[in-house]
């Protein structure tokens, strides 16, 4: 009898926590939807913001976010690819664990520290100032581990047969990389890039005083100009929480940003779920 009672208590506790956790998550999603949807219409998406974001839309904020993450992706991708190939194909086995640890350490660095470091390094030392390029460099370092690990996992999951076939044909290590490893890990590159872009799009702390300004800029005309972004737009409007119009627009921008990020993560999940190697079918 006591055993049964314990069983019941344990499972009820677990079920209560599960229901709480899941309803919390539903509350969050529905709060974003319910508050964001009224703000969104074609005009909101396609016009520039006016009166410090209280009126008008978020066109240039959205474009700013795309510019920042696009350039970050372009900068991070080749480095991630090169490093993933080196770590899986060239690096001696005894050093791989240490290399992994260092990559994971980079992933754990608090993003505000990337902001401080990035501003001093790219902004001051490389004289880029507060500009979108500084922001993209910072975001590129920040998402590098995400992209790298994804590509590395894809390379590690290539069936060994493929490599044996390549080696049996007499391919050199470098040919093997070009003919087998890179083509067979393209799905990892795409998912990694999507996850990395999603992570960059959600980042505010690292770019808020290094790459963006609140208003008064449209599209950057050079490398050294700041942009506006959805993230920082939400941040500024959120701090004016007493003003209902500012708040509505903040929720609208938040919904657009969340939708953007979720689309990218869903895309990566879909690719991950559908990919199978020919040899394993």
């Amino acid at each position: 009898m006591r055993r049964d009672l314990k069983e019941v208590i344990f499972f009820s506790a677990c079920i209560i926590t599960t229901v709480t956790a899941i309803s919390l998550l539903f509350i969050i999603l529905s709060a974003i939807l319910v508050r964001g949807l009224p703000a969104i219409n074609l005009e909101f998406l396609t016009t520039e913001s006016k009166e410090f974001g209280q009126n008008g839309g978020i066109l240039y904020q959205t474009m700013g976010t795309f510019i920042l993450i696009g350039m970050a992706g372009i900068l991070a991708f080749p480095i991630a690819l090169g490093s993933a190939v080196y770590q899986t194909e060239y690096l001696s086995l005894s050093l791989r664990g240490t290399a992994d640890l260092l990559v994971y350490a980079l992933n754990a660095v608090p993003t505000i520290i990337f902001g401080l470091f990035g501003y001093m390094f790219f902004g001051v030392f490389l004289k880029l100032g507060v500009s979108w390029l500084t922001g993209s460099f910072i975001l590129a370092i920040m998402v590098l581990p995400t992209v790298l690990v994804s590509i590395k996992e894809a390379i590690e999951s290539i069936p060994f047969k493929y490599l044996e076939a390549g080696l049996a044909l007499g391919l050199t290590q470098e040919r093997l990389v070009r003919a087998v490893i890179i083509p067979q890990s393209i799905h990892g590159m795409v998912t990694g890039l999507l996850l990395g872009l999603a992570r960059a799009a959600g980042e505010t702390a690292a770019i808020m005083f290094t790459a963006t300004t609140f208003s008064g800029v449209l599209l950057p005309a050079s490398f050294r100009e700041p942009v506006t972004s959805l993230q920082t737009h939400i941040l500024i409007l959120a701090q004016e929480a007493i003003n209902p119009r500012a708040l509505t627009n903040a929720w609208g921008a938040a919904l657009v940003l969340v939708a953007l990020i979720m689309l990218m993560s869903l895309g990566s999940m879909l690719i991950r779920a559908t990919i199978t190697h020919e040899a394993e079918r």
Partner: protein
């Protein structure tokens, strides 16, 4: 084919990208040490123990260190039971399709940006906390802790669930065959095998909570003080990250104020790195944990 013999451009490219990837953390670490060095010269250890912070006069980091500690503690205390309970149900009770749906939702939620959580916090949570506990100001350590607990819930839950799933099915079968009921099986056969992974999940969650900036900055009230008495978590305060977020822009690169902020950054960096390192080491052979969702890997 290549003029430089064995030194091939492809390999050179691989090596240089590898060097960038592995040295970035070290460079940031050195940067923080160099930039914060003057403040440790200026304030000595008083920088760590001082509780006054007036730019231009005195810099004491204790209120911020306290804030980061207490907020992280609140976040983990709330997130852990929720994450563990739902991980047990998801891994041990639910059917495979339901489990996949829940894990997918968790992964999507882990992607919601901090600034959106901050917006939720500033509009919904602060008011709720204010009314529930009859406070004058809804911005407090407690509010920030709760918000962080919601933010780290998906991470801790997903990783704990992975840990539970990684316990071989045979363990459960044997325990059941011995006549243990399901909760006893979980306690005596599953949890002991998964405890390392769960500890790792919690440590990685702590690391995330400590480093989160924007959402905390929006709901903590940003006042550098240690509450009286020290366990009064319903007062406004400051964490290391919210301090850096608030004052980073005005102090960038200038004088002791900047050095002091870099010092705060260094403290945060060391704490997060230490915790993440321990977390990654006990989770065992590194494989995507805490970065992307773990996938089954083939040994090569």
């Amino acid at each position: 084919m290549w003029p430089l013999g064995r030194w091939r451009p492809g390999v050179a490219f691989f090596i240089s990208s590898f060097l960038i990837s592995i040295s970035a953390t070290g460079i940031i670490f050195i940067f923080l040490i160099v930039e914060s060095f003057p403040i440790f010269q200026h304030e000595g250890l008083g920088f760590l123990s001082g509780s006054e912070w007036y730019p231009g006069e005195v810099y004491g980091a204790l209120p911020m260190i306290y804030g980061t500690g207490i907020v992280t503690f609140i976040a983990v205390s709330f997130a852990l039971p929720l994450a563990l309970g739902s991980a047990v149900i998801t891994s041990e009770v639910l059917s495979r399709p339901t489990r996949l749906v829940i894990k997918m939702m968790m992964e999507l939620l882990a992607g919601i940006p901090g600034v959106v959580y901050g917006l939720l916090g500033i509009t919904l949570l602060t008011t709720a906390v204010k009314n529930t506990f009859n406070l004058i100001d809804g911005n407090s350590f407690f509010t920030a802790g709760i918000l962080l607990s919601i933010m780290i819930l998906p991470t801790v839950m997903t990783l704990s669930e992975d840990a539970l799933r990684s316990v071989p099915k045979e363990y459960r079968d044997q325990a059941l065959a011995l006549g243990l009921n399901r909760s006893e099986t979980i306690f005596h056969a599953v949890l002991p095998g998964a405890i390392k992974g769960i500890a790792g999940a919690v440590l990685l969650g702590i690391g995330r909570a400590m480093g989160e900036t924007i959402s905390v900055m929006l709901v903590i009230g940003s006042l550098d003080r240690i509450p009286q008495p020290f366990y009064n978590i319903f007062t406004t305060g400051q964490t290391i990250t919210s301090k850096l977020g608030r004052e980073g822009a005005e102090a960038l690169g200038v004088g002791y104020h900047w050095n002091a902020l870099a010092g705060l950054g260094l403290i945060l960096f060391l704490a997060v790195m230490g915790i993440t390192f321990i977390g990654n080491s006990i989770v065992g052979p590194l494989s995507g944990r805490g970065i992307n969702t773990k996938r089954k890997q083939k040994k090569r």
